[in-house]
Symmetry: D3
Subunit: 244 residues, 6 copies
């Protein structure tokens, strides 16, 4: 069975990871999963939030947002409404936790990296694209910090790599990397964040319609782990390019 865009059930959309997209940020990546495009910038500064001062440990946090017309219908700006919605908060927290899973705070020293993930165009999977791209921006910021003596050249604040993908059951069929058209029809929707060595950082599965049973859960997890493996390879390829 082929999908609306011709993909196999276990196939990712075309993935691109464009480094050094911005001239200002210490790390910046324009990541695309098909038509989903997210600009991820990593801002490195010396010092940590007040509650962490004197600990000798660093901090990594993230903020996610969508441009108003990233979606098919224009959404109100959260800055204009004067508050951040629940979905935005939830995804920002997820991205931050995912990246912190591969950070050694001691090795980072008392420095802070903020990852901004702004969705320029949305077509499903914005949070998983954001995590996947933000990891690369973070890796570039770490290199920058080494070159600029925020941390020692021998420090290794990154303990591994992290990538994420969505999976879901549509029409009874488990699918990898849902596009928006598939996402709205999914009976079950799951976001999985994995490290490069295939372990789990986050597993978030939600029954949108019918509850799902154990067999379905197992099928989705298998798809997701394979998808993350491919995404990890794409990250490594992007980072292997000579000039950031």
């Amino acid at each position: 069975m082929s999908r609306f865009d011709g993909r196999r059930p276990d196939q990712l959309r075309p993935v691109t990871i464009e480094r050094s997209w911005s001239k200002h940020a210490e790390g910046s990546v324009l990541v695309s999963f098909g038509d989903t495009k997210v600009l991820c910038t990593a801002s490195a500064t010396q010092g940590v939030p007040r509650w962490r001062k004197g600990s000798g440990e660093g901090w990594v946090t993230a903020e996610y947002a969508m441009l108003p017309r990233a979606t098919n219908t224009r959404g109100d700006r959260e800055s204009v409404r004067g508050k951040i919605g629940g979905r935005t908060h939830e995804i920002s927290r997820l991205i931050g936790r995912s990246l912190r899973a591969v950070i050694d705070y001691k090795a980072l020293g008392e420095n802070t990296v903020v990852l901004d993930c702004d969705v320029l165009q949305a077509d499903g999977g914005t949070r998983t694209a954001a995590i996947t791209g933000a990891y690369v921006a973070l890796a570039d910021a770490v290199t920058w910090m080494q070159h600029n003596h925020f941390i020692k050249a021998k420090s290794r604040p990154l303990t591994g790599t992290v990538a994420a993908v969505s999976v879901g059951i549509v029409g009874g069929v488990p699918l990898l990397d849902l596009a928006y058209e598939e996402d709205v029809k999914a009976e079950t929707d799951m976001n999985v964040v994995c490290t490069g060595d295939g372990r789990f950082v986050e597993v978030q599965g939600t029954a949108e319609g019918q509850p799902f049973d154990r067999a379905e859960l197992d099928a989705l997890l298998a798809l997701a782990v394979n998808g993350c493996t491919e995404l990890t390879a794409a990250q490594q390829a992007a980072l292997a390019a000579t000039e950031a």
Copy 2:
């Protein structure tokens, strides 16, 4: 191996479900999982939000909050700070989704039920206690709606039951229903929402320290499903008592 409070790894804390706690609400439950106490009220009103008018379908939503001194250290009131934090938003959304998983909107008709889950005392597992208690409050509100002709006596807006429990890995050991003292030490933390027939509504697992592997995930899921089965029995027992 026994836990700090003498429980076995696969043992719930004592669970109580006290119905009709409030004289005003259409359904109200004081639920406790050990020292965690959550007051769940269900408010039923005729009519639905604007975006749903004319659909013939109802709506169920939830709001979660903590009293400032529900925890060991007093937290600022979100009303005083003027905005709701990310954690509060996230849990409110989780509770709402969990209850909507067992609602037949058509059978509910154009009526709305709001579940308010206010944590009076926190000791770990507040969101899972909230879901478990809110289901019972919702069931009472549905009965009230039948008696008060918001819906027909034969309508069955509830398509099943729902309960939730936390599980986690502490010191390498998978444990059921973490108390706060265990929660802060957990390497992995997972909240699982199940229907009464043992299927999944939500699975949210997070690596707090080390990423977790597939075997650990399987162990946690098994514990959680058994815990939910016990909680479902406690809900049924509470609802079977003659007088709400």
Copy 3:
């Protein structure tokens, strides 16, 4: 003439004062005036707000709030609306002022006590129940502070006791401790806060319908002073129980 619930005009509703309701707070009381139930917690911390630093004096403040479904019709959460209403502000300030009237700031030292008064169920007189219960929570917190060396064992930060009650004129008859059903019909409504020795801390009388004359004012004051005397006795009895 007897009232809707069988009380005499000068009779309080049944009053209960349950101490140590919460395991976390330094003082905690569940107070009920009939069906009105308020959870009062006292949080004691070392240090004072910035404007008071170095003065050698302490501070006591209060925050009042209602759970959304404490009332017959669900109210919006102030945290969700993003601001606190005028009524909430006004009552929080009243409770704070009332308790500060019996505090010797020097004897308290540079410590702060925050009283949180959360109305779990409302049936008239929530602010007076809050003041009456908060005094007991404050007294327990002071004892705790002595035992935990925040203040010296011989310090006496409490210079007296404080209790409060509502009075009003309904159908031309002055009544003590109005229930909600009476409150909505009252032509005049007055809240009186007294010290244990029968002096006034606050007198707030409002004509809801017709203005009131001096004779009516005198009748209300007399009822209120007697009511506060009874409440003071209930506070003392609660505090006299061996185990907080």
Copy 4:
């Protein structure tokens, strides 16, 4: 004993009531109690808030504010801080209640009057000056509404007059109409709102230091009633001037 400004204990400060201060408002008064100056404007519009539509009854409400430099030290603007403080809320509510006490909603018809009381210069007694001035602005707005056929020429929406004054105990002596310098030293502070026939609309007494006893309360009430009688005469004199 004479006061810091040479007044007798039972003497008001010089009171001026300047009508038609603004060219836009339907009623506008610049009222001064000594150095306290409040601009009171009454805005009359057809229609009522949504919750009152179809009732055939009108509505009167008030908003109080201080210019940032009305006081000795500049205060932050509440518009800049993004929220209204408790004191502002409390006084706005007091002014609204006081004026509504002399309004016949039926005679007002489905019209709304908003009283804006902006303190241009503060020297104690701003809320009582505001009430006293706002009554005159309201009376002018009612006349305007009769002339402009919002209400019938024979309608009498005003059922009486209302004025307010502060009293307090300073150095053991009960004083009328406290200036700021007296207010900050007062042991007890009371605001009294009276109708023109000498009955009470609001009595708000607060012990700032020592609680007050019944004899002190009686002395303060007597001073306040006399002060309100004088203020009522000043209102009537202002309204008797030929040209508003």
Copy 5:
């Protein structure tokens, strides 16, 4: 051709500048341009905002606001709406920039002056009246600071004077100092801020209807420069009066 109020096209409305309007502020001016009345207070304090500490330089800033009934139709209070509108922000920034153009920060030392410009009555040209009046309030505050040893007697923080006026094209005719009735009909509207020696601090021209050409722009600039010259003379006359 004469204007609706009998003025020539190049004629200002009657201008009054009343100094020392408030007893509290270090400088205070009630300025009127015809029926437009703005209360400008200057608050001088020692110290500067955090970002400027240790620089040895001072700071001057401004806040503009309108009373709700300054205009023909009552506007909502920005404090009640919980946020400041774009127009308010924009004008506050313009006033601040205009005054800073004639400030020598070094000579001011680490002191701050805040100019509050509150429109009591609006009839066009509120921002230009505010700038013109605020300059005089600022000059008085500087004198006060010299007398009170915030700055040395020989310091000259003011490097010049500043005044502002509006001009516009109405019915094809360039006019000076538009009243509200003219402003709403203007095809082009321009605000010009000049120093006393006839140079420009700000030029803000906007086509409200048709775009304007270079000849029209030149005509407007000529009118504005002449108007500012007259306003500068009025400022000097006000400041020349013996006792502020």
Copy 6:
């Protein structure tokens, strides 16, 4: 004299206008003025804001924002701070006014176009790039509205074209199209919005240091008009490309 980047004083930076950048919006343009990159999307919807309903006329409005790391130092998100800053408000209003200057509301019918201008990378001139790009996005949205029968094929809602550029005096030399490095050093800064036929829509000149005289103003206006002529040509070239 050549500039830091080798440009002549009267030379624009390289300008690119990339249409159809987003798959969702009715018009979308990525515009760059050198390193300044702004994504402009035009969202067309049927209907108008409430205050305009029934007028038969349309509405055009704009919102401007910067991504947090568009600049050299990361700025706080306005959505997180919960309010929009004065600069953002001011620029949003400027963009809206500029585009409305070339709109025939009647020809637009009761339709609304919202222009979102999000700065992805900032290097001076973000508001002028935004206006220049937004015009092209608006033109594409108008075409889309004709094809989709929001307006008649013969309707011409655009009465002209509009473009904008910054000019300023740096080191005494008038320069066209300031880059950030020049902007921070400018003594005078001016933004000019012109129609395609060389008339002015907005002229906003500000003395950052010394006030400017008439000769300087004339030099800046001449540079700006020429710059806008070039930008108009670039807009026309972009729109002339076959496929939007």
